[in-house]
């Protein structure tokens, strides 16, 4: 073939070749030759780089669950539970999942601010230093949240050494959990203040007096795991759950029996069950249960005596566990109820046994049980602020203007303070009322530790480390305090002799290295701290729960009391914490879009009212009604809730912000506006101890619910008509 190859043939061939090349490359030079891939390989099928994972601690509530956060290219992508962590064993709640919407929230405080204007950090630190230096120690106070135990420890040390006021801690969740009442009851009955721990998983029957332990109570992840254990039916008998409360909570919805007893009679019912059980068992009747008349309890509570007898038999049969909580503790009789229920556990003979009651172990670096302030203590604190005795107030991790009952007038009390310095990450109501906002990092950008108060068999300290670098010009509050202390004179500098936050945390964690019974050990401090970060904390490798000393429990006098209700209203009023929003979730858009577990309402506040009552009053779904208590008034749309007593109404807590970013502000109402200032004997607020009136307004405000698509056929949503 080659011998016949002429010049003309060559030119022809070359021409075809050139044309072909031009078509293939689009006439461009070879360097512009790119591989175009059609969008067939979607990201789901492709590798997009490797992720790195960091263990840290969730700060959406005070429980202290361990997280493992997936990061990719320096961004936090997903939070998962830390499978090693003794509290949550790899699980998370909705709020833990949505913590990323806090980290990347569009409304974070992005830089230090004073008087509404941006500042630089040097000036901010000078403001803090001057505040420490120019005031008497007794005029300086710290108000801290229930998370960030490392900050609480630092401020406690600072207070001990410089004479400033010891830090006060508060959170709305601890208010609704009545932590002071639980601790006081344990102290009265067992001679030891502590946080009771209820081993739901091992019980055969659980009698819950209002405890909403599947939602927000104390440690919902741990108690949900316990609930799953209770229901385990493959290896044992399926355990029963009986819930006494006037409004069916998400916990009561899972119960085998929901007993809507008359609010305020819970103590009588608990005592009656105890007495009937003791009578069935025979033998002398102990002092504690001598005064109760079961027939009287039955008639007052509206629970039939046969039903009480049946529960008493469960107690006699063994494996029964009684839990006090929720609205039942938030009444004037709250302490009496807590004592009656703990004593009922003594009758059931389950103290320190599997499926019974324990006291939670103290955390590893904790000497004695500490709790956050009760509302009574917050009332005293507020009065101190209002009186002008406090010249400078530092606020971190709590939003008292929103979380405290409006009747305490916390915001007004701030006028009595010369300088309010907030370390808020988000522009919440309290930060708005502050003179300065020096934003702390978000939890996922922070160092720290959190003590596991309850929910774990092991004694546990949960560790935090930054999983991403700070997104904004924020600074760790501890670093700010350490830097300010250096400028505030020898006394303060000497109290905080640390290079930075990490050195301080190391000084608090390091002693654990020599402690026996840890689940890991290390030869030197750097290795120990590396493990501490890697595993997400330090905990014992043994069950550290404390068995209550019940020697004298049943010989005490237990009060036979009914709760007293404030106000002249017609309806019992139950505020309850929204399980999805809780106290600080309203600024996270995906938490707003989660349907409430019982009503399926999203993005708003509703008033639960029995359909029969509503019918009598001429109230329909979505009618805006006015609730009037002795302390205040709110207006919200009605939700005809089939599982609430006809003489009771309920409102979720979590919405009603006037600030706190675009997703929270101006949405719904805050039931704290209705709360008064009555307390139980332990100083916890009687938040469910009121009677209120309702009035129609004649307006309608449709609620967005998952359960219906009425908006498609009805009138437009989001408008009042």
């Amino acid at each position: 073939m080659t011998d016949k190859f002429s010049r003309r043939d060559f030119l022809k061939l070359a021409g075809v070749g050139a044309a072909t090349t031009a078509i293939l490359t689009g006439c461009g030079p070879a360097s512009r030759y790119v591989k175009r891939e059609p969008y067939m390989e979607m990201p789901e099928y492709a590798y997009n780089g490797q992720s790195t994972y960091y263990a840290t601690t969730c700060r959406e509530c005070a429980a202290g669950c361990g997280l493992v956060v997936r990061t990719s290219q320096g961004r936090a992508i997903k939070t998962e539970g830390n499978a090693n962590h003794p509290l949550n064993l790899g699980k998370t709640c909705a709020r833990g999942q949505a913590t990323l919407h806090g980290l990347y929230n569009p409304d974070r405080v992005q830089e230090p601010q004073g008087g509404g204007k941006p500042m630089d950090w040097d000036a901010a630190i000078q403001v803090v230093a001057d505040a420490l230096k120019n005031n008497q120690p007794g005029e300086i106070a710290f108000l801290l949240g229930t998370t960030s135990d490392h900050l609480f420890d630092l401020v406690s040390d600072l207070a001990a050494q410089t004479g400033i006021n010891p830090p006060v801690r508060f959170g709305a969740l601890s208010m609704f959990e009545s932590r002071a009442t639980l601790a006081k009851a344990a102290e009265n009955l067992f001679g030891q203040a502590g946080m009771p721990f209820f081993d739901v998983g091992g019980a055969k029957a659980v009698l819950s007096f209002g405890a909403n332990f599947l939602e927000t109570w104390l440690s919902p992840i741990s108690y949900t795991r316990g609930f799953a254990g209770l229901r385990e039916a493959l290896t044992k008998m399926r355990g029963k759950l009986i819930q006494f409360e006037a409004r069916m909570s998400a916990t009561a919805a899972k119960a085998d029996e929901w007993i809507p007893l008359r609010p305020g009679t819970e103590t009588l019912v608990a005592l009656a069950i105890g007495r009937l059980a003791l009578e069935k068992r025979g033998g002398p009747l102990p002092r504690a249960f001598a005064d109760i008349d079961p027939m009287d309890a039955a008639s007052k509570s509206g629970v039939e005596i046969e039903t009480l007898e049946r529960y008493a038999e469960m107690v006699v049969a063994g494996g029964a566990l009684a839990i006090p909580g929720g609205a039942a503790l938030g009444q004037t009789s709250g302490l009496a109820l807590a004592e009656a229920v703990l004593a009922l556990n003594a009758v059931a003979d389950n103290l320190g046994k599997e499926g019974g009651m324990f006291l939670s172990p103290l955390a590893p670096n904790q000497a004695e049980y500490q709790r956050s302030a009760s509302v009574k203590e917050m009332q005293e604190f507020t009065q101190k602020l209002a009186s002008g005795k406090i010249k400078v107030l530092f606020v971190h991790g709590v939003n008292p203007v929103f979380e405290l009952p409006a009747a305490l007038e916390f915001k007004k009390a701030l006028d009595g303070v010369e300088q309010v310095i907030s370390f808020a990450t988000f522009p919440d109501e309290t930060a708005q009322a502050a003179d300065y906002v020096f934003p702390d990092h978000h939890a996922l950008e922070s160092w720290g530790y959190q003590r596991v108060t309850t929910g774990s068999n092991q004694s546990a300290l949960s560790g935090s480390q930054p999983v991403v670098s700070p997104y904004y010009n924020t600074r760790s509050t501890i670093d700010v305090l350490i830097a300010a202390a250096q400028l505030a004179g020898e006394k303060f500098a000497g109290a905080l002799p640390f290079k930075d936050e990490v050195e301080f945390i190391q000084s608090k964690v390091a002693p654990l290295m020599n402690e026996a019974g840890g689940f890991f050990s290390a030869a030197d401090l750097p290795a120990f701290m590396a493990y501490f970060q890697q595993y997400g904390g330090w905990w014992t490798n043994y069950d550290a729960r404390v068995i209550p000393n019940a020697a004298d429990t049943l010989n005490r006098n237990l009060k036979v009391v009914e709760a007293e209700f404030a106000g002249e209203g017609e309806f019992f009023f139950i505020p309850f914490v929204s399980p999805t929003l809780a106290e600080a979730g309203a600024n996270k858009p995906w938490l707003q879009e989660l349907p409430d577990p019982t009503t399926t309402v999203m993005w708003n506040t509703w008033v639960e009212i029995n359909p029969a009552t509503a019918h009598e009053l001429g109230v329909e779904d979505d009618d805006v009604i006015q609730i009037v208590s002795e302390a205040g008034t709110v207006e919200a749309p009605a939700y005809l809730y089939p599982a609430i007593r006809p003489d009771t109404i309920a409102i979720p807590f979590g919405q009603g912000h006037t600030a706190y970013g675009r997703y929270a502000a101006g949405r719904g109402v805050n039931p704290a506006d209705l709360l008064g200032q009555r307390f139980n004997e332990a100083g916890d607020l009687a938040f469910a101890g009121m009677k209120v009136n309702i009035k129609k307004t004649g307006r309608k405000r449709p609620l967005s619910r998952l359960e219906s698509v009425m908006g498609v056929y009805g009138k437009g949503l989001g408008e009042e008509h």
Binding site: K78, G81, A98, P106, R238, A250, L591, P595, L703, S704
Partner: protein, 242 residues
């Protein structure tokens, strides 16, 4: 009633994934819903669109009421998501072949770049688990930092639904392949099952009798599949509560 034969496994198939949901354990806490939203870049739509039933949830918790006060009872919480039917009603109605069946994983795929938004599939789904992007829902900066790079970000006019976290399935399969082994049971799981504090959701290979999901289904023995009478062959088994 039309009977549909179980689709036989071909050589290219890598296994049939399925779920077991214990309604007795589900507390309705919404952890799975939040976990799913975070894993799969699901948009939030705001109060008004949510009221019109336009939420984008790939998984929802259903509950119903029975009786009247005081004899009122809430039915056991029922997490509902795409049932990954063996004979899916959504598939044959798509004119664009966007809802196709994957022989490999025995899943119903949603190919976003083929979808032209006819919404026929959602109309034909007896489980009502498909959600349509009625708008380009806003994610103000810096919220997009959280987006999962393994999952397509959908835009207006596209249908979407639960994928059984197919990106996780592929990651696990690729990893196992590179290590020359099979994917181990429990080596990975879906975002919803991973978060569930009550362990109500179990995910795994339903064609492997040794897997946890098969073992639990066998031990409990009273599992039901929704709308089985329609012959959809769903991959999700429910254990009724109580």
């Amino acid at each position: 009633m039309i009977k549909v034969e179980e689709i036989k496994m071909s050589a290219e198939e890598t296994g049939k994934w399925g779920m077991l949901i214990d309604q007795d354990l589900c507390t309705g806490c919404q952890a799975c819903v939040a976990a799913c939203a975070m894993e799969n870049n699901i948009s939030f739509v705001g109060e008004e669109d949510a009221g019109y039933g336009r939420t984008m949830h790939w998984i929802r918790i259903e509950r119903f009421w029975e009786g009247e006060y005081p004899e009122v009872k809430m039915t056991p919480n029922q997490p509902m998501m795409c049932q990954q039917c063996g004979a899916a009603p959504c598939e044959p109605v798509c004119p664009a072949f966007a809802t196709v069946h994957s022989q490999a994983e025995q899943l119903n795929l949603q190919v976003y770049n083929r979808c032209v938004g006819t919404r026929y599939c959602a109309n034909n789904c007896p489980y009502q688990v498909r959600s349509f992007n009625w708008r380009d829902y806003e994610r103000p900066e810096p919220l997009p930092n959280q987006l999962n790079p393994d999952v397509t970000v959908r835009r207006r006019g596209v249908m979407e639904k639960c994928t059984f976290c197919i990106q996780r399935i592929h990651k696990a399969q690729d990893k196992a392949k590179s290590e020359g082994r099979e994917v181990a049971d429990g080596e990975f799981t879906t975002a919803c099952a991973q978060a569930c504090p009550a362990n109500a959701i179990t995910f795994g290979r339903v064609d492997d009798p040794e897997s946890l999901v098969s073992q639990l289904a066998k031990k409990h023995g009273h599992g039901v599949k929704h709308h089985e009478e329609l012959g959809t062959l769903p991959s999700v088994t429910y254990l009724k509560g109580g």
